[in-house]
Symmetry: C2
Subunit: 405 residues, 2 copies
Amino acid sequence: MTDPSPDAPWPNTQQGIRRRNLSLVMHAVVAQGPLSRAAVAGRIGLTRAAVSTLVDELIRGGLLVELGPERPGTVGRPGSSLTVGPHGPVGIGAEIGVDHLAVCAVDLHGKVRARAAAEGDNRGRPPEPVLKELARLVGEVTSTARGLGLRPAGLAVAVPGLVARDSHTVVRAPNLGWSQVDIGAHLRADGPEGMALSVDNEANLGALAELWIGGDPAPQDFVHVSAEIGIGAALVVGGRLLRGTHGFAGELGHVPVRPEGPACPCGGRGCLEQYAGEEAVLRAAGLEPGGGRIGLLAGLADDGDQRVRRALRGAGSALGIALSGAVNLLDPQTVVLGGALSRLAPWLLPSLERELGRRTADPQRPRGGSVTVSRLGSQGPLLGAAHSVVQAVLDDPAALAGRAG
Amino acid sequence: MTDPSPDAPWPNTQQGIRRRNLSLVMHAVVAQGPLSRAAVAGRIGLTRAAVSTLVDELIRGGLLVELGPERPGTVGRPGSSLTVGPHGPVGIGAEIGVDHLAVCAVDLHGKVRARAAAEGDNRGRPPEPVLKELARLVGEVTSTARGLGLRPAGLAVAVPGLVARDSHTVVRAPNLGWSQVDIGAHLRADGPEGMALSVDNEANLGALAELWIGGDPAPQDFVHVSAEIGIGAALVVGGRLLRGTHGFAGELGHVPVRPEGPACPCGGRGCLEQYAGEEAVLRAAGLEPGGGRIGLLAGLADDGDQRVRRALRGAGSALGIALSGAVNLLDPQTVVLGGALSRLAPWLLPSLERELGRRTADPQRPRGGSVTVSRLGSQGPLLGAAHSVVQAVLDDPAALAGRAG
């Protein structure tokens, strides 16, 4: 998380340039601080005088603090090191999972400062009690954060479903049984006042987590595949999340694998979910369907259950076929298996990579897509949610400083 | 073509801001001119004084001219209308087709000012004679343009093959039988000196033509499908061409349609080209294979040949299956059939739209992808090539003015 987001607005006006420059200062200090004003100026290509004015504004807004003179005894006025203030903003991330709710607070350094979670099956539960419980957890985490002297700067919620672009509305979350649920309206009624709210698909937030904190260096062009009950993907291109016209990009689960295959509730036939979705895998393994069984599958596969291993090999092949379409279309650097899928990676990868390899390798061009497994695993979406708030603060610190002032 | 490209560099320095502002002035005058300095200032949000300095520089560089005083008799110094100079730059576009070579010159208004073409089968011809002939046509068009008082500003070449990103090298053009051909080296030996050169895939340039001159308003998020012998696609997202890590994005022809289908030279099985490529369609129609038969297929289908119509229905279904994967992944506004495919659209569309509809429509979300047919047809790639040079001039007029000065 060292650069302004490529989607952050670029300035056309003096005011816009000032806001952009405030962001450059914040990103430099967070990435490389503590830094003197002169060092910041050197890194972002502005004069020391210009940087001093920006820094003063960020100090007044409580975003930066001075650590006191550095290198005392050198000639001239000693430089004072800048760092992120101890009472700075935190991003609040929340996750609505099929079998859990989780909330965390992440500071500008990317450290988790508070957490709360509640296990329990959310399938078929109406939105009201789920979101009331989530609001309670958010309240718990924000008051812990405030107790630490931190300022919650916004709340981002990860949901296992399609979210209409630039909205708070879950259009469809089949695993929860929700459709057309306005998360914003529920949380505004029950939740903490005055915090900026955003709602996004869990695969998107998992992919953003991968981009911001998943690797070093993080890939800038990748397909991120995750699964809980359905199979979702998110596409990152040039460091940007590709959302699609309606916000519904990444529906890998409905890419056709065998066009005359089993009917899918989406209206198609032979969609990837019919071969590699949790229910299909449980069925192929002779196990009873039911949500949240990925741990069970992983355990049985670890223990050498041949039927489960065969079912996972089949799922891996289907994933490889669908992903070979995605790789041929997008030419990404890599495919990342994230979320619950990362737990099953040892059993999925051999057949997945075989299909992907023979369908995308070409003697006259480089191999189309390597596959990596996320280090963040099932924490990705929750961390991505909190980090999306942090990123927004770093991309436009003036907005927050303005509110604080 | 009214806005700076979203990929044009954004400024961090005073010099960068000046170049960006020169571009804003050029785009405003091209899109809405003739305009007075005051009108330009109003449209781009700069002061009249700042705009005057920029305009003076563009006039010195030969990019703009003043038409003389407007509204004589009004109070104060009369404003003078600005327009693009008659001796301004033109973009030279060139196309290497399987059965033709074509070159054109397009001015800053987007008008074609000169053309040259040569019919003839290029399959299996070595690069040297083809590129020598192309260089001759480029020479013809540039000297016609110079005779009209125009200044060729750069040459962009469309090729039916994969081009390595940010290079002049055709990695693979199976329809020509070329691999690893450095177009730059050949054209620098035979072609006009001193012109900036770019080389790109014909599907990419066709898609850019669609974006810049294809519609009003042009879609900003679409999948552009074209075919000559192979099937290529280009993805435009947020007004940007999605090129992929190696420059190989858009390989729709190798998206699997039936994973156990016929072997494809790419190493995969059941790729789209095995069902909807020209050779597959000719075979299904009982016709002899051979390049450039799309006109023949269209003619026979027009005349009611049932076997050809059935073959095209099958190709349409396969296209619909592969495109439903692309639409599920990318959630575009629309799918555009361009290039030679636009000629076959009446016979492909019904089955294509049926497959796409049932695999992407979902009761709880809007229809995933409508299909439109390009108005530019087979002219798209050539026009896109010339316009890519024009767009580069408008995005950074200082580069050209600097060279001219």
